[in-house]
């Protein structure tokens, strides 16, 4: 049996990483989207020469600046955590992560920092066109920075383009392009950035609606709503498309996550999609937190099969099929994967012992076996399963994954409706007469943040117990340090980030109240 870290340490390490990542994601999506909205507004200024567009551009640029400044470098803390709390993981994936993170750092520094300086300091100092170019490059640079982080994340969800080196205990990249263009990475980037576009559009519409409610900054509000509604509508339709694609990739590569996000325990052909559902305790095993029944559900027949495999009658495996296996459809039982994983770990252990004992002949023979295509395919592919004894531990938190997924999807469709109505009302000139809608637009701002966070919960909780799909479980990834020290830094971060968030909100609210005149 493999020794694992204690549950408290794993839980606190996870909580700390989740807290840091979730706070970081409060600042990032607005930057990703609002930079494009600002670039469109400034393009209108340069094209038309109308000073009102310059005033509008500068106002939203101010709010972007506050958000960017408060959020800057919050992501670096995640890298601190890799080295301190997730050292086994960092070592295991080091060579794969090194390249994307280095590119991200260089891009973020040179593109964003340089062009942001021109955006803020360059009015009347560089030509209009140079300034506009800097604004566009800031938007493009921010989104390209996100690409590299999401490529790294995509690799964790679907490890490709690497070879495990038993000598160094590291995965080494052997195909950069396979890592960069993995379907999971591409889906992640497109879906995460387009969610940022939607959030920023909701943000602009919501604040503009507040001005209209207060009967202030009418021109700014109406023009901003027009730009944001068009951008938001296009982005939200694109968001649904990228989400749909992403779901299909998950159905193929992370079928346990897919089953969890739909709360599907027993697979079937022509599986229905649960559009809305409420879980209750299972009658068969009420004590099992992960085993649930639906107390009510609204199901669309055959839709899940189509969503997953573009075939109305395709078989979609449920959690029980993946745990117990399903011979008819070719799903291996989890116990078999666990056995194969244990063989892979044992073989790696034998290699390590042979090296330590100086038995080079045996070590070389074991290395040849470990790196052979047959062993990789039959055993190493299941390496991470070897850390488990109970197949039930392979099931993620089903209710949390299910509810987060459904909150995200329902809010996504709500935003499409919001953009359609915003566009309709602003074109008809009735936006400022519909007080209920203006209030709804303001309420939509926190909802957009909730949708984004829910999306990350689906992505990260749904793939548990893995940090690297099938290869490394969370419990093997953590550094064996004291749970108490992780707890201390958790609370330190909670305080630090909360103070930062309060500071952002205070400065942002004050600037919104001041408005564009000052």
């Amino acid at each position: 049996m493999i020794e694992i870290a204690d549950v408290s340490l794993v839980d606190w390490s996870r909580a700390q990483f989740a807290l840091t990542a979730m706070y970081h994601w409060i600042f990032v999506p607005l930057t990703l989207g609002i930079t494009f909205i600002i670039a469109f507004m400034e393009t209108l200024y340069v094209k038309t020469g109308k000073e009102e567009w310059k005033k509008i551009t500068k106002f939203w640029m101010t709010l972007f600046g506050i958000n960017f400044a408060i959020g800057v470098a919050t992501g670096i803390i995640l890298e601190f955590e890799f080295g301190t709390n997730w050292s086994n993981y960092s070592w295991f994936v080091g060579d794969i992560f090194g390249a994307p993170l280095a590119i991200e750092g260089i891009l973020a520094f040179f593109m964003e920092s340089t062009f942001i300086a021109i955006m803020f300091f360059g009015w009347n100092k560089v030509s209009k066109k140079t300034h506009l170019l800097a604004t566009w490059l800031t938007a493009i640079g921010a989104n390209l920075s996100a690409l590299w982080i999401l490529v790294a994340n995509g690799w964790m969800q679907k490890p490709v383009g690497m070879i495990f080196n038993p000598e160094t205990a590291r995965n080494e990249m052997d195909n950069f392009w396979e890592v960069l263009f993995s379907q999971t990475a591409v889906d992640k980037w497109l879906h995460a950035t387009s969610s940022g576009f939607v959030l920023a559009s909701v943000f602009v519409i919501g604040i503009s609606a507040w001005y209209l409610l207060k009967n202030r900054e009418i021109m700014l509000a109406k023009k901003s709503i027009l730009v944001a509604a068009v951008f938001g509508l296009i982005s939200s339709v694109y968001l649904v498309m990228t989400g749909d694609n992403s779901t299909r990739t998950i159905a193929n590569d992370q079928n346990m996550k897919f089953a969890a996000l739909e709360g599907l325990y027993n697979g079937s052909e022509g599986a229905g999609l649960v559009a809305i559902g409420v879980f209750t305790e299972s009658e068969t095993d009420p004590q099992n937190e992960n085993l649930k029944d639906f107390s009510m559900k609204l199901e669309i027949p055959n839709f899940l099969s189509y969503m997953a495999f573009l075939d109305w009658n395709a078989f979609v495996p449920g959690i029980n099929d993946l745990i117990n296996g399903n011979e008819k459809y070719g799903y291996m039982p989890a116990t078999e994967k666990i056995e194969r994983g244990k063989v892979a770990i044992q073989k790696l252990g034998e290699f390590k012992n042979a090296k330590k004992a100086g038995n080079d002949q045996l070590a070389n023979a074991l290395k040849t076996e470990l790196t052979s295509a047959g062993f990789q395919e039959d055993y190493f592919k299941y390496f991470g399963y070897g850390y488990f004894d109970d197949p039930q531990d392979l099931v993620p938190n089903v209710p949390l994954t299910f509810y987060s997924f459904h909150v995200m999807v329902l809010l996504g469709f709500f935003f499409i409706l919001l953009f359609v109505l915003s566009l309709l009302y602003i074109v008809k000139g009735t936006f400022d007469k519909k007080r209920w809608f203006m209030r709804l637009a303001i309420i939509a701002i926190p909802l957009a943040y909730i949708a984004g966070q829910a999306g990350w919960i689906v992505a990260e909780v749904g793939r548990q117990p893995w940090v690297v799909q099938d290869l490394m479980p969370t419990m093997a990834a953590v550094t064996r340090i004291s749970a108490g020290s992780v707890q201390t830094t958790f609370w330190l971060f909670a305080v630090l980030f909360t103070v930062l968030l309060i500071a952002e909100l205070k400065i942002m609210f004050r600037q919104i109240k001041i408005g564009p005149k000052h």
Binding site: N88, W91, T488
Partner: protein, 74 residues
């Protein structure tokens, strides 16, 4: 235009930008500096040492440690 001239212009561009910064700009810069100080001077040094770098001297030792952890039996 020679290289020195360009560097001087860039320098002046930043200096003038910072000098003429708005009130909110000064506030967020203060927050950025305090945050970076807390992150890199306090958190990084006292709370977030790199475990493998600070406990092992060579990559070989680090590899061996990770291999030990990944293959250790109860």
């Amino acid at each position: 235009m020679n290289r020195q001239n360009i560097l001087l212009r860039i320098w002046k561009f930043y200096i003038s930008g910072f000098k003429n910064m708005s009130n909110w700009g000064r506030q967020v810069w203060l927050i950025i500096l305090v945050k970076l100080f807390i992150m890199f001077v306090i958190l990084r040094i006292f709370f977030f040492p790199d475990f493998l770098k600070s406990n092992f001297d060579t990559d070989k030792e680090r590899s061996e440690h990770v291999l030990d952890v990944l293959t250790k039996s109860k």
